[in-house]
Symmetry: C2
Subunit: 317 residues, 2 copies
Amino acid sequence: MPAYRALRARYGFLELCKNPELAAEVTLQPVAELGVDAAILFADILLVVEPLGVGLEFAKGEGPVIHRPLRTMEAVTNLGPVDVESEVGFVFETVRRVRRALPPGLPLIGFAGAPFTVASYLVEGGPSRDYRYTKCLMYDEPEAWHRLMALLVDVTARYLGGQIAAGVQAVQLFDSWVGVLAPEDYRRFVLPHSRALIRALPGDVPVIHFGTGTAALLALMREAGGDVIGLDWRVDLDAGWRAIGHDVAVQGNLDPVVLFARPSVIQDRVRAILERAGGRAGHIFNLGHGILPQTPVEHVKALVDMVHQLSDRRGTA
Amino acid sequence: MPAYRALRARYGFLELCKNPELAAEVTLQPVAELGVDAAILFADILLVVEPLGVGLEFAKGEGPVIHRPLRTMEAVTNLGPVDVESEVGFVFETVRRVRRALPPGLPLIGFAGAPFTVASYLVEGGPSRDYRYTKCLMYDEPEAWHRLMALLVDVTARYLGGQIAAGVQAVQLFDSWVGVLAPEDYRRFVLPHSRALIRALPGDVPVIHFGTGTAALLALMREAGGDVIGLDWRVDLDAGWRAIGHDVAVQGNLDPVVLFARPSVIQDRVRAILERAGGRAGHIFNLGHGILPQTPVEHVKALVDMVHQLSDRRGTA
C-alpha cells in the first residue's frame, strides 16, 4: 500500500517494527483502506529471537539474514535467555495502541512464528531452498534440535502470552515453511513442540495454525492443535477441511497470485472457494499465503468487497 | 561426482549436453560408480526449447535464464517450428552411444520436461518463487496459454519419440514445479496437455510421470497418465500410492537431504520407505527429487547398497 511504502522510504523494516506508534499506524492502514474484518499486528516472526544474539538483519531485497546461524549443540547451548517484557515489549505496546484505535467489533490478531519455521531461519541463516542444515540438525543431532525447539516453545509461549495480555483477541502461529518436511519428520521433530506451544497458551484465545505446502500434513497439524487450520491454495478447500475434520475451523485458500489477474478471474475464484466451503460456519476467507509485493491495491479492495458480497458475511470471522 | 566435476571444469553445461561423446560418458558415470539399476540420460529439459529462439543461457550458479520470456499471445504466436532431428539430434546420438556401451539388462531412461514446467521457465524467464507471470498468462490470457502448451506437447512428443527411436527403454516426464498450482488450475490448464503428450507416445514404452509438492495433485496426475507416478518425500509413500491406486507403479520417495545425514539415518529411512511399499511389485526406489550438489558420493553408494540389500531387489526396476 502506498501509505506503507511512504513510511518504508523513511524507516528501515526493523525500525518500523520497534516503533509502537508507527507499527500501530501500519497495523491500522489495511483496516481503514481495505475494509477487512480484522486487523493483523504489524511485526515479524523473527523479532522475538533477535535478543538471542544470532545477528539478525533485514538485508535489502533479500529477506532476513542471520549472521551467526545455529548448527551445533554448542551453539544451541550457548543461547542466552530472552526476557520478552524488556526485549520485545515494544510489540506489546503496539498491541495496546492498536486496540485503543480500532473500531469496536474489529478484532486484532497477534502472531508468532511456529518453532519449526523460526528454527529453520536460525539454522539456515536465512531463507532456503532445501533446508539442508535444518534437516541435518534434526537427523544427525536430534538432541540439539529438540533443545532448540524447546527453547523456542518457551520464548514463543511467553511472547504470545504478552501479546494476549496486551489485548490481541486471537493469535496466528506461522509455520510457513513446514511443508518442506516429510510427514514422518513432522511427527517426530515438530508436532510435539507445536503442541506444547499451543497447550501453553490461554485456552480462551483462538489459535490459527498456519502452514503452506501442507496437503499431506494437515491431519498432523490438527493433532498438534489450533482452533483454525490454515489451508494454502495447493489443496482444495473441501478436501483439506475433510482431512482435518469439520469440527475445526479453516482459513484460506486463495492463491495470492490470483490478485494479479483480472477482477472477473478473482471473482470466479472467490465464488469457487465459497462453494467449496459450502456455507459452513468456521471458514475464514483469506489468502493461502502472504500478499505479494506489487499486488494491485485496488484488486485487494475488490476482493474484500467480493467476499462480503458473495458470502453475505456468512462464515467470515 | 568428481569425474563429472572434472569435465565441468573444462566444459560449459550446454557444451557437455551437446557433445554426444561427453554426454554419453556422463550418463554412464553413475552406472559404473554407484551400481544403480538403470542409466538416466544426461541432458536438460530446456534443450528442446532452445531452438525456439528465446535466448536460453545457463548462468553460473543461477540455473537457466531465458532472455526473452514469453508473456503475450504475440510472443507465443511468433515462435518458430522446431525440427527435432536437426536441432536436438545430438541427444539422440547420445542415446545411441549409451545404449551401445551399457551392459545388457541395464535399461536407459530418457526424459523431457512436462509442458507446464517447461512453460514456466519460458514465461518466467528462469526459476521463480511465486510463478506469477505463468499463472497470470493462464488466468488472463488462457488462449495464449493453451496455444503455448499445445506447441510444447507437439515438440516434446517428437523429442521423446526421437529418444525412443534412438533406444531409450522408458521415458520420464519431469513436471518438477507443477506442485505450485491449485488442483483446479492443474485440472483446467495442465492436465489436458500432459494427457495429450502421454497419449502421443508409443504405448509400449513405460512413462514415469514425475512432480514435486504434488500431494493434492496425485490423482489428477494419474488421470493425465503415466505407468509410474513420482512421489516426492512430502507425502507418505503408502498414502500417496493409495491416492493414485495400486494398479499404477510409483517411484520415490526419499528426501534428497537425507543423503547428507549419517549412514545409520539413511538406512532407517530406506527401511521405512520399503516398509511403506509393503513388498508390492511396482515400487521404484528413488530420491523424491534431484540429487543436491555437495551430496557425499559415498553416501549415495551406500544408499544403492542398502536398497539392494534391504529390498532383496524386490520391487526395483
